[in-house]
Symmetry: C2
Subunit: 694 residues, 2 copies
């Protein structure tokens, strides 16, 4: 260890050098992209992008070496304790449970039990109010069943794959990257001075960038076998993660369960644009299920096969990505883990306002910044520990070639001691709409008006009616119509094709030559133009957010011995807005005299829309409060003998365990309502009613 | 026609006679069922049930003959007008649209656009408040992906079929019952005096009761061909309506998309029972998607392939189906179309209170009655025209053999001129839990305590340790343990098996004979017993309810010419609780002076959770109001030049088109909030503010 520590300055310097090289290469790629008008990449650009990925591998390897020498202080034991405690609590109180458990269960499928389902619905209600209602967004709900051609167009049929191998004898399947990674880690642990040590470390840092061929090479080279049997494994092959089925009785209409909700918004773009009177910008959200046939689902909700997404597609003029309500997030402070922070000492996020981040160009534009700010406000409102929340920018090589900027909302999963991607906020430019437009043949452009009409020089196409008529006879009319309806872009393309002669130009399905058309420049006044809007997409993984939220809200009351599983008092400090039960209702004992008051409390709470539960199970009040604390119930109303005499009841708050006395049930219910709605704070209530001790 | 009308008394008498015969046979079946303790039916019972179905065929044939002679007054032309108007409106304003329309669409799949999605979410929010929150129900969310063994156990893999035929040349698929029915109707129309006229009419009345063999016989006999091509069709075969897929990478885990949400509650019964401390009765609800690969989907939302259900499973002691809150529905009046009404003149529903219906035994028990009452309150609250709502009881032959009573919420679809089953309310007795218990090997009984301990005589099983030890050696211990753990039911079964010798008795997988055990009666005090709870299941089809609601709420303003599509003023009179937009916000003109006030109105409405839309499109106020009326927006706030001076604004109500003037934006927003929440009525607001004319 001492050796390693002495190496630290050297390793840090190595990382700095690698980071610098990466940043230089990023600039080269960025310049090339800026000068590239085509939607397809040039060979040169592709080459430089490959170089960029190589640079990133160096950065990762250097970072890994540094981490190995100076391990982080977070303890894995601690993480495992959290995992056991939280998962135990969640299962025992039926927040979640493996689906179909009485039939043996299915990996990667979880059911939400009553409290879990309630937290999820509450979280989505907050999300809907925060994003859809307050922003005046549209919302739609498309089907999960999706015919194959749509997902062929979006690229999912061809590219939504993981590399997989099988045990040659049992046919058990494994993810190739997981298998290789675990194998290399074991090997390194057993043989720290392995002859291929450097290559192995490099491989570990870059494993998710291996292609099928490379993966096979290393699986063979390191003699990877199936971990459960020791048998050899097959060559790896791409496994598509979509669930396949077919629609209709004749099984001739292949279909998939959607792997993301986004496509349902893109294919409806035309109708949505009509809904808003054709004006940009506008946004449409969708909350719904998506399905991915993961090869290796994880425990808990972090990687499952059926999951809920909440996605927003914000359509905006690519030439004006300002946001009208940006002022509302300008002062929101976020933990920003931008490219600079990821590539520079101390390689840690910085605290910055959204306003400053956009102004200084860390975040590409106001609209993206606006959604980052709103997202931060959202996770804070539902109760996330903001110390464990950060926004990480994608490095250049992580982004799709069409994206102009991309940030992940990352939340620390305390049980895994890992940052988890819980939402992605991407500027996807015009890619999706252009793609569906081309594949479906349906026009998905929007018209943008200039502030005032402009005079422009435009190349127009003039049909040579004579040559066309002679050659195409009665089809000529259609061709002429088509030619005159061409927009500027199409005219340019046709002109280029005819000039270079690189391919035959087709119009209305007929081959057109230079003899059929001429081009001339025209000067005219135009009030606007048609274009594919840019899409800014905040996309939330609901299950992952819930999982992290439960971990963040869990604590053990001070002075308790966590190891004593029987008596330890656990608390799930969920805010009122997401807590499954808003108020528990406790009679002092099982005495029948309390019944009519209990009924009144329940009726009044229910009528106010406050979910409540009576616990008259006969154990002590203390134990019943502890039970409610575990469920995250923020408030309790207790009915005692005094209540029977004068109608007064006690209200108790979960986190402080302090109590107040209200003169009537109606008053108590109103206090609970105001606290849950966030209209008032417990400290104010306590100040005005006074602390009550029974 | 005159001939037919003269026959009316004869036809009515025939129907009466058939109804009487049906009722007598019902009684025979009911008596047999009551004396039948087994979960399986005896041969005798099966025979009488077949007779019962025959009787019903006679009733239907008689009813059909009567209807043909005295056609109902509803006009099909009228229905078609409603269909065209409503569907046109729904598509044009993007309430719903065929999914993936730009790729050619898929039959039976619909997307909910922004207003449709909003109405659906609002309807579900009302449902959740009305049933789950106010009733203190549990709610869970299980997965759509369901492994095959679960649906094998529930019977869906084997029995969830429709009979299908294919065109022998094109392989196009048709539902056999639809094809035969349409063919017979055409034939009868062309040849009213066809030689098989009587048989054909009888077939039309009973077509959904034909089995595969009978169906083939009639398809051949009447030479049914494929309607699109005239080609011959194949023999019919059962087509399973579930979408199949497989889970995991090796495709060895066959699975289906669930065809109903109910199973997700049953398989979690044990955890749910734990959640409520083991006490009956309790209820659990689930709102979620279900999938059925319909052979012939209908237009609109009435029969689709992916749809939302809202189901409740209420678990109750089979010996006590009273309901604690029954008093709350006692006075609710419903249109009851019970067995009596369906089988007696004038064959029409009667208006009756739920209390009376239960008291007189029309509805089997209080709990079922309670849910019927609550369901009626629900559909009234969301805006259904109660004239077109009825509860129809299943006739004896329609119910599964295990069910003890079943009612459908039927709502008139004005566009189809047909009653549509929008919810089913069934007492399914102990069938589902018993079934899953048996197939999964997991105990799904609940313990019910007697009011006070009882002395009971019980047969107990005494293991003969000597004979068991000698024969089974070291396995004997396990067998003895198993024998002593048997409950009364199991002991009885074992005793019977050994006495009749009908089959070898198996314990722990070993063959047991009379020499291994003895039986004796014991008298003991017991405080309760274990049993399978009865399940009372209200199950709602969300899409169908929405479709009927839109039809019921649609009207054209009085004095308008419906035929004039351009100027006619259409209204969707959705109540505030379900309307997609609660309030439209209209500036008098596009003048910039209104902007800051508009922003204030929007901000205040949004903060109050009220979805709102500005319409500043520059057309007249009247046209913009008309546009909002079509969307079902109940209220509007208008900002004019007076507003700019003194901050006062106008509030306008959709149905009366009356207006009031509020002194401030805050006041106007509060009026809108109270109206939407149902805290106050428009008439009261109008009375206190006075009618305002601009």
């Amino acid at each position: 260890m001492t050796d390693a520590v002495e190496q630290l300055p050297l390793l840090e310097a190595a990382l700095d050098a690698a980071s610098l090289a990466y940043k230089k290469q990023s600039q080269i790629v960025a310049n090339l992209r800026a000068g590239n008008n085509n939607r397809n990449r040039t060979d040169q650009l592709q080459k430089e992008e490959t170089n960029l990925r190589d640079c990133k591998r160096q950065v990762d390897a250097a970072k890994r070496a540094l981490q190995a020498a100076a391990p982080e202080t977070n303890s894995d034991t601690q993480a495992k304790n959290v995992a056991a405690a939280v998962e135990g609590l969640l299962r025992r109180r039926f927040f979640i449970a493996p689906s179909f458990e009485i039939y043996g269960g299915v990996k990667g499928l979880y059911d939400y039990g009553p409290p879990g389902c309630a937290v999820k619905n509450n979280l989505l209600a907050v999300w809907r109010q925060h994003f859809i209602v307050e922003e005046g967004m549209l919302e739609l709900e498309a089907t999960c069943l999706t015919p194959a051609p749509v997902l062929k167009a979006s690229g999912h049929v061809d590219k939504f794959n993981d590399l997989m191998v099988e045990d040659v004898e049992t046919s058990d399947a494994y993810r190739a990257d997981h298998l290789l990674g675990e194998h290399l880690e074991n090997l390194l642990q057993q043989h720290p001075q392995h002859e291929h040590k450097d290559e192995m470390q490099h491989l570990l840092a870059t494993i998710d960038e291996l292609d099928q061929k490379q993966m096979d090479v290393y699986l063979r080279k390191y003699e990877v076998t199936a971990p459960d049997t020791g048998n050899a494994v097959t060559k790896c092959y791409p496994f598509n993660l979509m669930f396949q089925t077919s629609i209709g009785p004749s099984a001739t209409q292949p279909a998939y369960l959607r792997p993301e909700t986004a496509q349902g918004i893109f294919v409806n773009f035309k109708r949505l644009l009509e809904s808003v009177g054709g004006k940009l910008p506008f946004a449409c959200a969708q909350i719904g299920l998506s399905f991915r046939n993961e090869i290796a689902p994880k425990g808990g909700l972090l990687r499952v096969r059926e999951f809920q997404q909440a996605e927003i597609e914000h359509f905006v003029n690519p030439e004006d990505k300002s946001h009208a309500k940006f002022a509302q997030v300008r002062d929101v402070t976020i933990n920003m883990f931008g490219r600079e922070q990821q590539l520079h000492r101390p390689y840690k996020p910085v605290s910055i306002t959204v306003g400053e981040a956009v102004e200084k160009g860390f975040i590409d534009n106001e609209t993206l910044g606006y959604f980052i700010g709103r997202t931060s406000m959202f996770v804070e409102q539902v109760g996330m520990n903001m110390k464990f929340v950060r926004f990480r920018q994608h490095l250049e090589h992580e982004m799709a070639h069409y994206a102009s900027d991309c940030w992940d909302l990352e939340i620390m999963s305390l049980s895994n001691n890992k940052w988890v991607e819980c939402a992605g906020l991407a500027d996807r430019s015009a890619y999706d709409l252009g793609n569906h437009s081309e594949k479906s043949g349906s026009e998905l452009r929007a018209r943008v008006n200039y502030a005032e009409p402009k005079r422009v020089e435009e190349v127009v196409c003039v049909a040579n009616k004579g040559t066309l008529g002679r050659q195409f006879k009665r089809d000529a009319q259609g061709i002429i119509k088509q030619l005159s309806a061409m927009d500027e872009e199409e005219v340019k393309t046709l002109k280029q094709q005819l000039e270079t002669g690189e391919c035959k130009a087709q119009v209305s399905g007929f081959d057109i030559g230079p003899e059929h058309v001429s081009f001339r420049k025209e000067s005219k006044m135009v009030s606007g133009k048609s274009l594919y809007p840019s899409v800014i997409e905040p996309s939330f993984g609901v299950g992952r957010i819930l999982w992290c939220l439960w971990e963040h809200c869990y604590y053990v009351r001070e002075g308790e011995d966590e190891a004593d599983a029987q008596t330890v008092r656990r608390v799930l400090a969920l805010p009122g807005c997401v807590a499954p039960v808003k108020c528990c209702v406790l009679p002092l004992s099982k005495n029948v005299v309390f019944e009519s008051l209990l009924a009144e409390v329940r009726q009044k709470l229910s009528a106010a829309g406050l979910v409540n539960r009576v616990d008259d199970s006969g154990t002590s009040i203390g134990k019943r409060y502890a039970r409610a604390d575990e469920m995250g119930t923020p408030l309790g109303i207790t009915v005692d003998f005094e209540s029977v005499k004068d109608g007064s009841v006690t209200v108790r708050e979960r986190d402080s365990t302090a109590q107040i006395r209200c003169a009537s049930v109606a008053d108590a219910v109103d206090v609970v309502r105001r606290l849950v709605a966030g209209e008032t704070a417990w400290s104010d209530v306590l100040a005005s009613y006074g602390n009550f001790r029974a």
